[in-house]
Every structure is written in C-alpha cells, then in structure tokens.
C-alpha cells in the first residue's frame, strides 16, 4: 500500500517524498487523527489566550449573589455565566478554560520528565548490558508491577499533596514505558551495519548513543509520548479528584470535580462539564497517538 502511495505521489504531486512528508501525508489521510490534531491546537490556543477568552475571573467568588447558578439555557441562567457557577459562585466556563492550562502543562511536563529519564535509562541499559541492564530493568519491573495510580498515591503521600508533587509522581510511574521502548529499539539498532561502521570509524559511546542510535529509535517514542500525555492528564486529574493533586482554588479539572461532588444532587453542571473537558482532551491525545502509530509504523497499518 505504501509503495503505491509513494508511486502515485511521485508522479502527481511531490517530486521528492521525504520520510517526514510521507508520515504527514499518511497522518493527513486519517480523519480521526486530523480531528484530534485540530482539537489539540484549539486547546493550546485556549490555554494561551485564556485571559482573553474567559468571560470571568476563574477564582473570583460571589457566595451571596450567584451560588450554583444554572447554565444559560436553563431557567435562572445568564449568558454572563454560560455554563453556570459553582458552589462559591465562580464561573464554570472560565474555570474550565483556565483548566486547559493546567492539563496541558501537566501533560507536557510529565511526558518530558519521564521521557528524558526513561530514554537515559533505556540507552544505558541497551549499551552497557550486564549488571547495569539487569539493575535498571528489574527496577522498571518493580514499578510496573504496582498499579500506577497506587504508586502515584504513595509517592504523593511521601512528598506531600500538591500539583508539583502529583506531576513528579505520575512522571515516575511512566518512566518504565520509555525505558523499555528505548532499550528494545537500541538493542535492535546496535546490530545494524551503520552502527558498526560508526563504531569502527572511532565514534565514542556518547556519540553513538545520542547522535547515531537515538535518532533512529524515535518512532516508538513519539507514539508513546503522545499516548503518555493522555495518561498523564488522566492520572493527574484522578489525583486532583482524591484531593492529592492540585489544591483549591486552582481551576484544575480533577480538583473541580472533587469539589463538585457535594452538589451532584442539585447542580448537574458542576459535575458534567469539567469531566467532559478531561474526556475530550484525553480522547484527542489517544486518537492522535493511534494515528501517529499507524503513520510511523507501516507494519501495523490496516
């Protein structure tokens, strides 16, 4: 299938089809992934321009005049507060818009942390083998043997509740995925001729690791990182929901849900919208991750 696509593309549009362009073309043909990508771009714009878009101040309370105001389309609602207000009279829509900042930041920081540490461990494991390999991989097995949410809770209890510690905890639970992927890719690459050639021409271990081998291991890591953002957003929201993550009055979606639970019987909007925001965000990153996997790994293509 790829070959015919290449042939067609070569005769019609692009005279040179670089690997990057081929991946982009394949991704562009995937409607789900493109919808997800547009949604993610929209989310990023929301996060950047939150102060301009949000109709109200996300933490301004008014416990007297507008407690649990329903959404605009319900009786008693107002377009000044389109999705209603929470138990302290804060505007739901503004809080959700500001919440996108936290979720995207959590996703980015957690993935960067676990990717960086995981890749270093995986490279060390793959290159040095022997005791180093055994030690690192056993440690990764231990982390993987524990349910990730349980481990994250333990680490948060150890470090103290809060957004920063929740991100560290989630990052630690994600390290093994990257370490294992990197190690497997490294072991696969090390047998290839170009690595041997590079080694013979005198490249040092560090150069081999980062300049020669690592760029060729990127495909699975890119897919895992995209999927990793969604699990990071989900886990951090779960910690927020258990009051172990971001603390009030931070408009983080999970924390908002924890606060909304007490109003579930009389104010459905306080419960519905923050969770919908989490679901849509996580879904978008999962869809994009699936699309990237199909685009980057032709073997798995449908």
């Amino acid at each position: 299938m790829t070959e015919t696509a290449v042939a067609v593309a070569q005769t019609t549009a692009a005279p040179v089809l670089t690997p990057r362009r081929e991946i982009w073309l394949s991704l562009r043909a995937n409607k789900g992934a493109m919808a997800a990508l547009s949604l993610i771009v929209l989310l990023i714009l929301c996060a950047i321009f939150a102060p301009l878009i949000a109709p109200q101040d996300p933490i301004a309370q008014d416990p007297i005049n507008r407690v649990l105001m329903p959404p605009a389309w319900d009786d008693g609602g107002s377009w000044a507060f389109p999705l209603g207000t929470d138990g302290l009279g804060r505007d739901m829509l503004s809080r959700i818009i500001y919440g996108s900042r936290y979720s995207l930041m959590i996703g980015a920081i957690v993935v960067t942390l676990s990717l960086a540490i995981g890749v270093l461990l995986g490279l060390a494991s793959g290159f040095y083998r022997g005791t180093v390999d055994t030690l690192i991989m056993r440690l990764m097995d231990i982390i993987l043997a524990l349910p990730s949410l349980l481990l994250a809770i333990v680490i948060v209890v150890l470090l103290g509740a809060g957004l920063r510690n929740a991100m560290i905890a989630v990052a630690i639970t994600n390290i093994p995925h990257y370490a294992r992927l990197t190690r497997a890719a490294v072991l696969n690459e090390l047998t290839k001729d170009y690595v041997v050639a590079s080694r013979v021409s005198g490249a040092g271990t560090l150069r081999l690791m980062f300049k020669t081998v690592l760029p060729n291991c990127l495909a699975p890591l890119i897919v895992q990182s995209t999927l990793g953002i969604s699990s990071a957003v989900l886990d951090a929201a779960a910690l927020g929901f258990l009051n172990l993550g971001a603390q009030p009055p931070t408009p983080e979606w999970g924390t908002m849900l924890a606060d909304a639970r007490q109003y579930i019987e009389r104010a459905y909007w306080t419960v519905t919208f923050p969770g919908l925001a989490i679901l849509v965000t996580v879904l978008a990153f999962n869809l994009l991750g699936d699309g990237l996997r199909d685009a980057l790994d032709p073997k798995l293509k449908r």
Binding site: R138, L139, D141, I142, A145, L146, P147, S148, L149, L150, L151, I153, V154, V157, L158, S230, L234, A237, A238, F241, L242, N243, L244, G254, L257, A260, R261, I264, E265, Y268, V271, T272, P274, G275, L276, I278, L279, V282, L283, N286, L287, D290
Partner: protein
C-alpha cells in the same frame, strides 16, 4: 516445567522486596516523630521516649529496621492501625472481600460485553458497526472513571432513582456470620429482597470499574480476530460450508483468545488502581476507600500495610497468570 515454575517464583522475590522497600521508605520519610504520632499531643519524658524507641526497634540503624520490617511482614505482622488500633492485616481482610466481589463482577461485565463487541467489529470490519464500536471503545479507554461514576449516579440514582448511591446493601439487611461476599450471603439468606438490594448496589460500581478493561479487551479482541480471520484454516472452514457462526465463533475465536487472555490478566493491576477511585465514589466499603481514608487520617501504618498487601496481591495474580500461561502454551516456557 518445574524449572519454569521455580524460575518465575524466584523472579517475584526482588519485586516483592522492592515494594516492601518502597513502603518502608514511605513510613520513614514522612516528617514527624513516630513516637509522638502514637501518643498524640502528649508530652513525654526523654527516658521513657528512649525506652519506647528501643521497644519498637527505632533506635537501630535503618537497614536493621528494614530487615526487621521484612521479618515481621513475612510472619504476617503488618503493624497496628493508629485509628482503629486493630492489626492492619485484620482490617485489610475484613474489607478485602468487598473489593474482590466488585473487581470480579467488573471483570465479568467487561468480558461479557467486550468479546462479542470485538468479534462483531472484526467480522464487520470497516462497517458502521465497526466504527461505532471502536469509537466507543476508544472513548471508554479515555474515560476518567471517577467522572463516569458521577455521571451514572447523576442519571440512574439522582434523575431516575433506580439505583442507590452508595454502600453494598440496604441497612435493613444483616447477615450474622457471612462470608462478606454480599451477593453470596444475600442469596443464601432467606431475607426477602436482600439479593436484589445487593445487586442494585453493585451494578453501577461494577460498570464503572469494568469500563477501561472492557475497552482494552474489545480492542484486543478485534485485532486478534482480524489476524485470525485471514488464516487459511478459516478459509477452509468457510469453504467447507460451515455456518458463519461456527466459523467465527468456534474456529476463529478460539484461536484469537490467546492474546485476549493475556490482556485480561494484565488488567488486574488496572482493576486495583481503578478500585481506589470507584470505591471512593460509591462509598464502597473495600480496601480502596479504606486506603484513601487512611491517607486522609494520616494512619500511616495502615497506608504502609495496605499498599504492600495490594502490591503483593497484584504480584501474585500476575505470577499465576504467568504460570497458567506456561501450562497452556509450552512455547513460553523455554523463552527467557
């Protein structure tokens, strides 16, 4: 075969020690003086404090304390809860059946829905059914289950009033010396409506906890079926004129089940993690909500013991999945 079993059993020892070390570090890294924590706000004279430190072995070097901890744990001594004053092990096992009951029902629900859904999606590949089912599976896979639980409560308990919001059974029912598995106890008792009450309490939590495994199993069933449906023996079976049900349901599904069973085994960890959230939402009196409450109450011996017990349980389940697998599939035994 014996070598395979011994090898696998030995492999879990470092994992268990790692989990123990983690919980040990947990209790020791928490700021505060353990003796003071036991006493509360009281003043204590230094000599008495030194005696207490010696009594609990807290004057020993850390590595000695770790060895002692392991020694106690191996003998089943997980310390005493600060709140209830009971041994942690007793508290844990009085609540564990509730978690097991919930997890088993969630898994049964997930498997019962996921396998037919995955088979249908593969069989009608590319059709609207396939897209709808896989879209639903991806949504389920992306679901924040704590929100999903609240939504179901909102719909079925608050709006429709069909199911209760929390607990395991109505307070009217009480079983003297039950097994603590509510479905079984209520079925065995002669109290009218007890079983119905237990089921109506269980249904929403089981759906919530089963959602992510359901999505994972459905996706795996679909891709395993797709692989198998292209095989020669499936074509042969079709050519022989066997009914579609026989070809798909018997010939293909049976061979597609191997990766599906693996994935089911791997979901046990997810279930235990999910139980922490699900039990919290539905006030389900299992080990998950107990653990979270222990954290809120700063009952560190319970947190420490609970985490280690849950971890041990997951490790043992994974070990048994591994062993069953080795029995079923001889090729795995030789692999290292």
């Amino acid at each position: 075969m014996i070598r395979f079993v011994i090898q696998r059993v030995l492999l879990i020892i470092p994992t268990f020690l790692g989990a123990a070390l983690l919980t040990f570090v947990l209790i020791h890294a928490i700021p505060g003086d353990p003796i003071q924590m036991m006493l509360g706000e009281k003043v204590i004279d230094p000599a008495r404090k030194a005696a207490m430190l010696a009594q609990y072995g807290l004057d020993q070097p850390l590595w000695m304390q770790f060895l002692q901890y392991i020694w106690h744990v191996v003998q089943g001594d997980f310390g005493k809860s600060i709140v209830t004053k009971n041994p942690v092990l007793d508290d844990f096992f009085s609540l564990f059946p509730a978690t097991i009951e919930l997890a088993v029902c969630a898994m049964v629900f997930a498997i019962a829905v996921a396998i037919p859904a995955g088979v249908l999606a593969a069989e009608k590949r590319g059709s609207i059914y396939d897209h709808a089912l896989m879209g639903a599976a991806l949504t389920g896979y992306s679901m924040p289950i704590f929100w999903w639980g609240l939504l179901l409560i909102l719909l079925f308990s608050v709006q429709l009033g069909w199911t209760p919001v929390s607990g395991r059974i109505d307070l009217d029912y009480y079983f003297d010396d039950g097994t603590n598995f509510m479905l079984w106890d209520s079925l065995m008792s002669d109290q009218d409506g007890a079983f119905i009450s237990a089921v109506s309490h269980l249904i929403l939590p089981a759906i919530v906890l089963g959602t992510i495994p359901l999505a994972v199993i459905a996706r795996m069933t679909r891709s395993a079926m797709l692989e198998v449906l292209g095989e020669d023996y499936v074509r042969t079976a079709k050519a022989k004129g066997l009914s579609r049900f026989r070809v798909v349901g018997i010939h293909a599904l049976r061979n597609a089940l191997i990766p599906v069973v693996t994935v089911i085994g791997l979901q046990v960890g997810t279930l235990m993690g999910g139980a922490i959230l699900t039990e919290n939402i539905f006030s389900w009196p299992g080990v998950g909500s107990w653990l979270v409450n222990s954290i809120y109450q700063r009952d560190y011996p319970s947190v420490q013991g609970g985490v280690l017990l849950i971890a041990t349980f997951v490790i043992l389940i994974n070990l048994s999945v591994d062993l069953v697998y080795g029995v079923l599939n001889p090729r795995i035994r030789g692999r290292r």
